[in-house]
């Protein structure tokens, strides 16, 4: 029976970085990575496919780590991360626009639904339950870019209009109008799907 497999003994290296860097990373992981779920959800809302969403989350956290020293401890870390995510996402859209892969960020291109429009949503809660989660998310992903983010941050992440305004670098009034428009378009899209699937009557 051979005595030992290898003559060379080298303890596994658990830590190869200076303690200060490890401490920063450890703090970052406990403060920022705790919001991974929210950042990931936002990326899913913004990106049309899973891989793009994962990539966006990764670049967001790398950028956040790079800027972690400037993060004001005690302030809203989730909002800080979502701001970085939004900026990265806008960069990506601009880059794709330059190389001609996507249309410009659309804001006013979709016809705004008429105010006080009567619909067939006699019981909206029941109607909405007919959609799968995937269908609802898909409909959200079809909204114009900035409206989509605004609606997502308000409804899903339950951020205040003020926080959303800061994240998106726009006045609060713009957030209200974007959210409102986004909600109206989403409703219209879902109604249209509902009719296609045969569980909603005609509009009006």
């Amino acid at each position: 029976m051979p005595v030992a497999f290898l003559p060379v003994f080298d303890f596994p290296r658990v830590c190869r970085y200076p303690i200060s860097v490890m401490a920063d990373r450890s703090k970052f992981e406990s403060i920022a990575l705790a919001h991974l779920d929210a950042v990931y959800r936002a990326a899913v809302a913004l990106c049309s496919n899973h891989q793009d969403a994962q990539d966006l989350v990764q670049v967001t956290f790398l950028k956040a780590f790079e800027r972690f020293e400037s993060f004001d401890r005690g302030s809203n870390c989730k909002a800080w991360l979502l701001t970085i995510l939004r900026n990265k996402w806008v960069d990506q859209i601009r880059h794709k626009r330059v190389i001609g892969k996507v249309l410009p960020i659309e804001e006013e291109m979709v016809a705004e639904p008429q105010q006080n429009e009567e619909t067939a949503w006699s019981n909206s809660r029941d109607l909405l339950e007919n959609f799968s989660d995937e269908q609802v998310i898909k409909a959200l992903q079809e909204l114009p870019d900035e409206q989509r983010l605004s609606l997502f941050l308000i409804d899903v992440e339950q951020l205040s209009q003020m926080d959303v305004a800061e994240i998106m670098s726009v006045p609060v009034g713009t957030v209200k109008s974007r959210t409102s428009r986004a909600r109206a378009i989403l409703k219209k899209k879902l109604l249209s799907h509902a009719k296609e699937m045969g569980f909603a009557g005609d509009e009006k």
């Binding site: 497999f5 994962q54 409804d155 409703k187």
Partner: protein, 261 residues
Amino acid sequence: MNHLSDEQLEEVMGGGIRPEHLEHCDQCKKRLAEKEALASRLCSAFVSIKPEEELVEQIRRQLNVDSMPSEHGGRRCLLSIRSHWRSWATMASAAAVLIIAVPLIIHLSKPSSAAAAQAALVRIHEHNLSPNHEFYSESSPEKLADYFKNKLGFSPSMPRPEQGLSLRGCCVRHFRGQIVGSYVVETAIGIMSIVVVTDRPESLGMGQKFQHGEHLFWKSSFAKCEMVTVRLGEYSYCAVGEVSHSYLTDLLARLVPDSQK
């Protein structure tokens, strides 16, 4: 009667003051209820959206890699160059640093596909160590060979357990869009994975070539892991673990069949 605007309803939903009008107007009440129902459904649609564990690990690994420039003075060095820009002495030092650092950075930076390949190898290793994944736990090399023969169509070389190590088991994984085999070796000083791929060591970004015995080996490092690769026949055997290159090299040297030694 003037109905509430959509923006006013948004304000109510955001926790703003509820206008008196809402108490009397059924139409506005209904519009608000619809908006609230939609918000609630949208929120519930995302409840099941969670990142995969793999993404968390990827981010952690990247944070490890991202920490490296400051450790080696990369980022701090640039800041210090800016703050002492007017000093000739500092400029001369900076030039010297650049002369040394630029080739070093070029040398250290890997092409993205190679870095991605190495990240994938490290990921396979980390998955092998994770208790929650599909793994064929078997210490008999013959049974592991049968498993691979069945799954991959060939039996890769494996070290003999009587040589002071034990085999934990094996699994098949995806690497660069192909199915590859991986098995785990346990020794007194650490656990290592060996991933068997058809890619040549050079294409994996294993830049540092060295001779050990009669064979050529390639070595590299990624995140916390070291990697050594040897080409045997049509396959490259990549040993990955948090142990030294020499340890991994010796492990791979044990794979060479007696007839080839």
